[in-house]
Each structure stands twice: as C-alpha cells, then as structure tokens.
C-alpha cells in the first residue's frame, strides 16, 4: 500500500515512471526492432553502456539499452516525453541514487571505470561527469560563489587568485563573463533565465568534468536564450563530451553529432545526426521525426 503510494508520487514527478506504468497506453501498432538500428557503438568511446535496464519499483522504465558515446562528441537523446531518455541520462552520473525505488541493471563504463562499481566513489564520479538540469537551479548565493562552489568542494584551488581564475575562465567559457563581470557578488537567482542556465553550465564546467550531461537545458528558456546556449554547446564540444536530452528535434539537429531515438524505454535507432534526420530507418523514428507524435 505504502510503496504503491510512493510509486504514484514518484510517477507524478518523473515522466518516465509514469509512462512505464502503462506502456500499453501508447500506439503499439508499429513493432519495436529486435535490436537497436544504426550504429549504437563506436570506436574509442568515452562512455559505454551495455544492456541497461532501469526499474522504478516494479515497473520498468528502460529496456535493454546499449549505447556508446565517443570522445568530444555531442550526442542528442530524443524521443517522445516519458520515453526514458532523462532517466537514462541521470543514470550516467548516478543521480538516480537519490531516488529510493530506482534500480539500475547493466554496465556503465566511463573509460575504464565501471560507474556502478560499489568501490567507485560517487563524489569522484560526479566531479568527472557533470550535469545541467532542465530548470536552471543556481544556488541562492552570489554569482561568484555559485561558480566557485565546485572547485571549493574539491579543493581545486589553493589560493584566492587561482579560484578567481577558475571562476573567470568558467564564466568566459559559458559566455557569461562579459554580462556579469561587474556584479559577481550579486545573487545568481537575480539573473534572467538564460543567464541562470549559462551560470549553471559555468558552475559545472568549473570542476573541469570530462563529460557534461544536459537534461533539456533549454526547455525553460525563450528562443534567444536557447540560441545562445546552443552556440555554447557547440563551442564546448571541442573540450568536453556532451550528452544532451532534448525535446526539440531542431535543436538536436543543430548541436549534435550523433542522435539516439528512444521510444517507451527502448533505444530504437542511433546514427549520425544527419542520417537520422534525413534517412531514418525505423518506422517509429520516422513517425517521430515527421511529427506524427511527440
């Protein structure tokens, strides 16, 4: 009784779980492929996931997904809402640990390290795999403190000037420096939505992660702010590996090198972004791209 209650509570906040409860509800006329279509694997991957299954309590949110993410690559995860793409992303730096009823099976490798190895340190992992969330969530501190938070935690700077340098570099990389350099001591919550999101990106790259996960970073922003962030992602891709969940196919087409299409917890098709958008192989992918559901 109690778990059922919890499950509904979780389902209310996590779309993937909500969908997983009633997978039959969606149009089932088009069969799923036996295996992921296209090229889910690549040489020299930064991260590689194999046979991933994720459960919320008794219901399954992700079915047997295998995927590689190459170095300095931007991969877009697209699909209708509740298809498990955000869940998958959150598994990649173990943010799903904070949800009690979430169970993850399968292997996640970050280069040579198994992410779900009990011996692996979550703190260290999250320093290497950063995350930017759907809604900008700056801490209620000054802009400077927001960016300095991570480096301070991990002891990345010993001197004040080193910290200043990290903050400035991160803000520059996030394209925010010129806008905020005169008011670093003002609260981060006072910025506009787009600026806040770039502040969050600056905050996560301040600890020099290897991978940056972005969970629909632009869904709460207006088109101009979105354009700025997309530009930023493009610049960042030279230094970082980026996985971005997005709802907008145009965005996926604009920023990513590869695109993975999820449908109801299954990875249907992965390919070069161009290929996916110009010549989708599977009927579901095509249906989604042409806008028949979403």
């Amino acid at each position: 009784m109690e778990t059922a209650q919890n499950l509904t509570d979780t389902a209310r906040t996590i779309p993937a779980a909500r969908m997983a409860q009633e997978p039959e509800a969606m149009n089932q006329k088009i069969p799923y492929p036996e295996q992921t279509i296209g090229k889910p694997l690549c040489d020299d991957p930064k991260m590689s996931m194999r046979n991933v299954n994720v459960f919320y309590g008794d219901s399954q949110a992700i079915y047997d997904v295998s995927l590689d993410i190459g170095k300095n690559q931007v991969i877009a995860l697209i699909g209708p809402s509740g298809c498990g793409k955000s869940t998958f992303l959150r598994c990649m730096n173990r943010m799903n640990d904070t949800i009690d009823i979430c169970k993850v099976k399968g292997s996640f490798m970050l280069e040579q390290d198994n992410i779900y190895d009990p011996k692996l340190d979550v703190v260290e992992l999250r320093a290497r795999v950063g995350m930017v969330f759907q809604k900008p969530n700056p801490f209620p501190k000054s802009i400077y403190e927001n960016v300095a938070y991570g480096p301070r935690l991990h002891g990345l700077a010993n001197k004040k000037f080193e910290l200043d340098e990290i903050v400035e570099n991160s803000l520059r990389k996030a394209g925010l420096w010129d806008e905020v350099k005169d008011r670093l001591d003002q609260p981060g919550t006072g910025l506009s939505g787009g600026q806040q999101q770039r502040l969050c990106i600056a905050r996560s790259i301040a600890v020099s992660p290897e991978v940056v996960l972005m969970d629909e970073p632009c869904s709460a922003l207006d088109p101009i702010a979105t354009a700025k962030i997309e530009e930023l992602i493009d610049e960042l891709s030279s230094q970082y590996t980026i996985a971005i969940v997005t709802h907008s196919m145009q965005q996926a087409a604009r920023v990513s090198h590869r695109t993975a299409y999820f449908h109801l917890g299954r990875l249907i098709e992965v390919n070069d972004t161009n290929t996916v958008f110009t010549a989708p192989e599977h009927a579901l992918t095509e249906a989604y791209i042409t806008g028949r559901f979403g």
Partner: protein, 462 residues
C-alpha cells in the same frame, strides 16, 4: 445563576417564535398558492422572527449586567447616613465589602454598626428590585421583539438576505474577538503598569539592580519601600533562555536535518512522532521533572566534581526547557528544510558534493531565514515559559551569569506576586503587571519579526 436562567428562557422563547414565524409564513403564502410564492424559504422567515426575539434581549442583558453593579453601588453610597460616609478610597472599599458581607450572610449583622446593617438590608432590597426589573425588561423586550419579527412575515419580505446579513455580522463579531483579546491584553497590562509607574519610576524599574518587592506592613518599618529594579529578572530570564536554546537549537536542528535528509523513511515514521510527544507534554510535567529529577541529578553531579550547585540551579531549568523546545525547533526546521527545492540538492550533488556538504553549504544557507525565524519564535516561547521556571528556578533575584546558581525570571515573579490574596493597589501587585507588559512587548516584537521572516521565506519558494 440568574443570568443563566434568563438565557435558557430566551432560548425557549426563540424556539417559540421560530415556530410561530414558520406557521405564519405558511399562512401568508396560502392565498398566493403555496410557499414557492414567498420570497424566501419558510425557515428564513422563522429564523428572522427568532432573531428579533433573541438579539435585542441579549443586548439588553449584556448592557444591564455591565452597569447594574455600579448603579447600585453609587445609589447605596449616596443613601448612607453621613455618620458612616467613608473618607478615603480605601475606607470606601472596606465599607462596601463589609456591607456586602453582611448582606450576603457571611457576617453576622450583630457585629457591625447599626447603620451598616441597615445599609446591608437596603442593598439586599435594591438587588432584589434590580433583579425584578431586569427580569421584566428582559422578557418584555424578548416578547416584543419576537412579535415584531413575527408580524413582519410577508411574502415580499427579503427574509433570507436579512437573516444572512445577521449571520454575517455574527461571523464578523467572532473574528473581532481576536482583536478584542489583543486589545484586552494591551489595556489590562498597560493600565496597571501606568499605575505602577506612578509609584516607581520607569528608570528604576528598567535599570535598577535590586529586586525585593516586599512591601512593609507598617509605613515605619525598615526597608519599607521595597526595591523594583528588574535587571536581575531580565538577566535571569535571558540566562535560562540561553541555556535552553543551547540545548534545543543544535539538537532540534540536527535531528530535523537527520530525519529529513538521512533517515530511512521507516525510522522517520517512528522517530518523528515520538519526538513530537515532547511537544504535547504539559509544562507542569516538565516543571516536576526539572525540580525533582534533573535538579538533584545536576546537583549530585556537580558536588561529585567539587562544585557548589544551588538546588534550584538555572542549569536544571534551562536544560529541561531546552528539551521542551526541541520538537518546536525540529518541526519548524523540518518545514523549511523540506521546502528547499530538490533542484538545489540535485545541482550540488551533480557537482560531486557529498550529502553533508550539500546540506551545510546549500540547504542550510537556503533555509537560513526560515530557521532563524523558527529560532526567534522558540526564544519568545522560552522567555514566556512559566511553569518550568516556577517549579525549578529560584525566587531570589541574583544578578549572575553562573548557570549553577539560582536565578529568578520575569514569569516566576509574576506568579509569586499575584498568587494568593493581595490588595490590588500595592506596588507589589502592580509590579506584576509591569513585568507582564515587558514580557508582552518583548515576545510580541520577537513574534512579529519571526513571523515576517518565515512568511517571506515561504513566499520565496512558493
């Protein structure tokens, strides 16, 4: 009680007029073709008749009871023969009491002067007359009002609107009780305090270091004036409150954090209600616990370490008061901590912060205004807490910061000054009200600030 009987009678009368109003509403509607041709439902006409019966009579009763005592007293005093006319205010009260006692049968008329006995008889006669007049006036107003209400029952009468507006006024009057209470507090405490400050200067009261409110029985006695310097009381109150907060803030805050952020939900489901039991225990029980268990234990412990500990040490009272306040702080802190959005925690965790780092550097700073508000409310509660200190703290006004000594507090002094029979004019009794005024002002200020902070904090995350 007479007034009680009258009210019961009035309820019966109201029911009678309700019935007649109901009957008449049907009667007047019959020629029109049934009740649906009335403006309102019959029940509203009936209620209107009952309202006309009850409300004016109640108003009369209230007014009468308010003034009749004073009227009788003035008439009685005026009618006294000049031989026993009182000279001073005090004599006046004494004489009045004497007459009342004789009239009430508590004092044998043989023991008092004949004039007083006569006055007592006159008082009895006046009271009987007063009661009779009240009864007649009350019943006739009720009946007249009811008949008037009944006679107004007409098909076109907007009875529903009228009844509803009466109800609305009653509802509003209920809401006004809150304001009247505040007003009553302010006035009662303020007036007595002003009378106190006419006897003792406010400067002495606020800054004097000596507190010994004993008033001499005879004016020529040594130390006749008493000393009313309240600083030792303020200091004692602060000392005990400080000890209480030293216990309650860390324990309350940390247990709220642990239960909200770390504990398994089964642990939380058990531990939270058990901790909240502490909030439901009456303060007199804490007082007993402090006086009979904690204070001797502390004393024993202190003496085994070679310290002299007073048997009514501030430490014991403060410690137990702290325990009492733990659930107060922890539930307020729990509220504000769980109000911090999950996104904040996720943001910090995703950067690789450990859980305690997230709590210390993100959650608590974000919740700080709310926590501060809660702590201020707790301080105000500690300052105003009475029973624990009455039972476990001392009576002697020591000006000390040593928690092992006995100190006294504002509330203890209010209780000791007012419990028991006193004449109501001595500086000693009035001092209690002056202390009450200080207590009210300080707690009110703390509450206003705290509620403002908490409210602002809630708006921030809503």
């Amino acid at each position: 009680m007479q007034a009680g009987n009258l009210v019961l009678l009035l309820i019966a009368l109201g029911a009678v007029f309700y019935f007649f109003g109901w009957r008449r509403s049907y009667a007047v509607s019959a020629p029109l073709g049934g009740v649906r041709h009335l403006h309102s439902l019959p029940g509203y006409y009936a209620s209107l008749a009952a309202v006309w019966c009850v409300l004016p009579a109640l108003a009369l009763l209230a007014f009468w009871l308010m003034i009749d005592d004073a009227v009788i007293r003035t008439n009685l005093m005026a009618s006294l023969p000049s031989s026993i006319q009182p000279q001073s205010q005090v004599d006046h009260e004494l004489l009045l009491n004497q007459i009342r006692n004789v009239a009430g049968g508590a004092l044998n008329p043989a023991f008092v002067p004949a004039e007083v006995a006569a006055a007592a008889e006159q008082l009895n006669a006046m009271q009987a007359k007063n009661q009779l007049m009240l009864n007649i006036a009350f019943i006739s107003i009720a009946v007249l009002g009811g008949v008037w209400g009944w006679s107004r029952v007409q098909p076109r009468l907007r009875a529903r609107q009228q009844v509803e507006s009466v109800m609305k006024w009653l509802l509003m009057a209920s809401a006004m009780v809150a304001i009247l209470t505040t007003l009553g507090i302010v006035l009662s405490v303020l007036f007595e305090s002003i009378r106190f400050f006419q006897k003792v200067s406010p400067v002495e009261f606020l800054f004097g270091l000596q507190w010994s409110p004993q008033i001499a029985l005879r004016p020529d006695q040594v130390g006749a004036t008493g000393a009313f310097g309240a600083v030792p009381l303020f200091a004692g109150t602060l000392l005990i409150s400080f000890i209480a907060m030293c216990v309650a803030v860390p324990v309350g805050l940390m247990s709220a954090i642990y239960l909200a952020e770390y504990a398994h939900k089964n642990v939380r489901a058990w531990a939270k209600p058990i901790l909240e039991i502490l909030a439901g225990v009456p303060t007199v029980v804490y007082g007993f616990f402090a006086a009979l268990t904690v204070a001797p234990a502390i004393r024993g412990l202190g003496e085994s370490m070679g310290l002299t500990v007073a048997s009514e040490s501030a430490l014991a009272a403060g410690l137990v008061m702290g325990i009492m306040i733990i659930p107060f702080i922890s539930s307020l802190a729990d509220d504000v901590i769980t109000a911090v959005p999950r996104a904040m925690r996720d943001g910090s965790l995703a950067l690789g912060a450990t859980q305690s780092e997230t709590i210390k550097r993100v959650v608590i700073p974000a919740a700080l205004p709310g926590i501060m508000g809660g702590i201020l409310l707790a301080v105000s509660r500690a300052i105003g807490e009475t029973m624990i200190v009455v039972m476990a703290a001392g009576l002697a006004a020591n000006l000390t910061a040593n928690p092992l000594e006995a100190v006294t507090t504002i509330t203890v002094q209010i209780v000791t000054l007012l419990v028991g029979d006193q004449e109501f004019d001595s500086a000693k009794t009035l001092a209690a009200f002056a202390l009450g005024l200080m207590l009210f002002i300080v707690t009110l200020a703390l509450n206003v600030i705290a509620l403002k902070i908490v409210r602002k904090y809630r708006e921030q995350y809503e």
